[in-house]
């Protein structure tokens, strides 16, 4: 067993190497810079057999990734915050072109009010670009998820780009033991359905009139629907291969007999496990549902797990004028189900530390629930 103490960023870079990535085009930005640094080091030492393209901006980084992917290589990039915002146009491009690019995103707040700390608002504002979005809550998970994301993105029935998101600094700079496994056997060299070929020329990304365009968009929606089923298959295969239970869609923790279920994403979910245990010691039967796949959104699973429960949604981002994005999703998923109530709370904005106390306090402040739950 090859275990090393790695930061979230290093795990992302190592996973890209073990996933047989052949082209990396990236532009550094805090807190995702060490991903680019580590990849550059691995390429320089010859350990990673990939071409590193230096670009002048994130917009170009994504454009280069799309280009490399259409030419038939497995591509990887990493960014954060303003870099991700700057990529926005190209993110749409990657989806509509159906290029399975995988990107590591170290989530960070967006300025001004210059802030470099954890906040999911950068990735959540790219919610509608059609990318698959997976939110991790530990370094081993980042390592595993990138390989799984390639399997998912490159599946002939999916063919969509995927973001692997993790909280900036909270995970990106925290070092934990990570088991480095080879993915040979789980992943093969990228073999695309089609690729740009000078000997066999065709046009890609040409003008599309309304009807064909609508169909293209409709197919993207269908690909997202299929992705949920394929994710389940990949989870099982990954477990077979590594004996590690890494969820792709949803993670459930002690929800079965729970009266109150905490719903959240990212690193907060890891801390929430401790809060759940501590709440149970205080006679509050709590549980945790972590949404890992925000896009595609696992509506059916959410319904199944939350039926008949009191639901507390913790968001580490806000859509001003509407509230927490995750809360809105959960609320609409539960619109016609039998839940007691769904309550929102926005926490950890701009990198405010979210501790188990933050979560416990929020639940104890809801006195009506406590009265009902603690007999």
């Amino acid at each position: 067993m090859n275990v090393r103490i790695l930061t979230g960023n290093e795990s992302a870079a190592y996973s890209a190497m073990k996933s047989m990535v052949r082209v990396v085009a990236a532009y550094p930005i805090t807190p995702a810079t060490p991903v680019v640094e580590t990849v550059a080091k691995l390429v320089e030492s010859g350990e990673m057999q990939a071409k590193m393209i230096r670009v002048e901006s994130e917009h170009s980084a994504m454009a280069a990734c799309i280009g490399a992917s259409t030419a038939g290589s497995r591509t990887f990039t990493a960014t954060s915050s303003h870099g991700l915002a700057y990529m926005h146009e190209m993110l749409h491009w990657a989806t509509n072109a159906r290029t399975p690019v995988v990107m590591a995103v170290a989530n960070r707040a967006i300025g001004p009010g210059w802030n470099i700390w954890a906040d999911l608002s950068d990735a959540l504002s790219q919610r509608d670009t059609g990318w698959i979005q997976l939110y991790c809550s530990g370094n081993q998970e980042i390592y595993d998820t990138i390989a799984m994301a390639y399997r998912l993105a490159e599946d002939r029935k999916v063919l969509l780009p995927a973001m692997v998101c993790y909280d900036g600094f909270v995970l990106s700079h925290t070092a934990m033991p990570v088991e480095i496994t080879d993915f040979e056997g789980f992943l093969e060299e990228y073999n695309p359905k089609w690729r740009l070929d000078a000997d066999n020329p065709f046009t890609h990304g040409n003008i599309l009139p309304p009807e064909p365009f609508a169909e293209l968009r409709h197919n993207i929606q269908k690909a997202h629907d299929r992705a949920l089923k394929i994710m389940k298959k990949i989870e099982d295969e990954f477990y077979e291969f590594t004996k590690r239970e890494t969820p792709l869609i949803i993670e459930e923790y002690r929800t079965e007999d729970a009266d109150i279920v905490i719903v959240t994403m990212g690193a907060i979910a890891s801390e929430a496990k401790i809060a759940v245990n501590s709440l149970r010691e205080k006679k509050v039967k709590a549980g945790l549902l972590r949404i890992k796949s925000f896009r595609p959104f696992p509506e059916k699973d959410v319904k199944n797990y939350l039926e008949g429960k009191r639901v507390y949604v913790f968001d580490r981002a806000i859509s001003p004028g509407s509230g927490g994005q995750l809360f809105r999703e959960i609320r609409s998923a539960l619109a016609f189900s039998d839940v007691k109530s769904v309550v929102p709370r926005v926490v950890g904005i701009g990198g405010i530390d979210v501790t188990k106390r933050t979560i416990e306090k929020a639940i104890f402040e809801r006195k009506i629930w406590i009265k009902e739950v603690v007999a």
Partner: protein
Amino acid sequence: MMASIRFHGRGGQGAVTASKLLAEVAYMSGYYSQSMPFFGAERRGAPVIAFTRISDEPLFETSQVYHPNIVVVLDPVILRAVDIFSGVKEGGTVIINTTKKPEDFEFEQDYLNIITVDATGVAIENDLLLAGLPVVNTPMLGPLIRAFELLNMPLKLELLERVVTRKFGKAGMKNVSAIKQAYERAEMKTIRGKRKRKRRKKEKITVEFPISFPSEGVAGKTKMWRDFRPEIDYEKCNDCLSCWLHCPESAIRVNDRVEIDYEYCKGCLVCSAICPKRAVKTGREVFA
């Protein structure tokens, strides 16, 4: 059982590296471990903190450490700027790099184990220097092993030596002998706290617009960040004002002549590099 450790240092002294090395040693000793630096606007010389968690059960924490069992202070100058005793658990251990004795420290807790060691001295004796400055992060790991003995969570000195040699290659041996010396020289005493408990008031902040007005020293008096001290030689100075123009901190004042404001100068030495007359001399800054 979970032990949490907080490292205090100044940017460039290797507090983050020390916390990562400790996490590695703990993992090799069979514990679960985690190393978490806190990042802000760190620059060379600014006060920094890093955390390590060590546990015999899997760790799920993703928040900072507020109540550490052990505190490690890499630089005595920090004591003037930061309350290193803040939040330390009763009966915890505080390890300070200083020439003072354990009795010389005051705190709010009922009692704490204070370990003092002159790690800077140890580093200099072992020729453990980087860019002319003593390396204190590895020597401080020696006394840290002692603190773990107190917690009944023994970490092996041999494992620490192995991790350090693997990390630093050739310089590894120097580090190892410094770690051993620091381990042996560390002086430990259990001390009763005398300082009265103060209730800290939280300042209320209102931010409606992301604007700030020019003010002096928003990061506090930044002289603590200085490792080098520039001095102007007025015999050579011809008042060309190049240093005043290039100083990134506006710490050069123009009165009858150019003067350095030593309360805010961070010791970057841009003034010395830019001076056409070579009138800015540089020397080591010693506070403690």
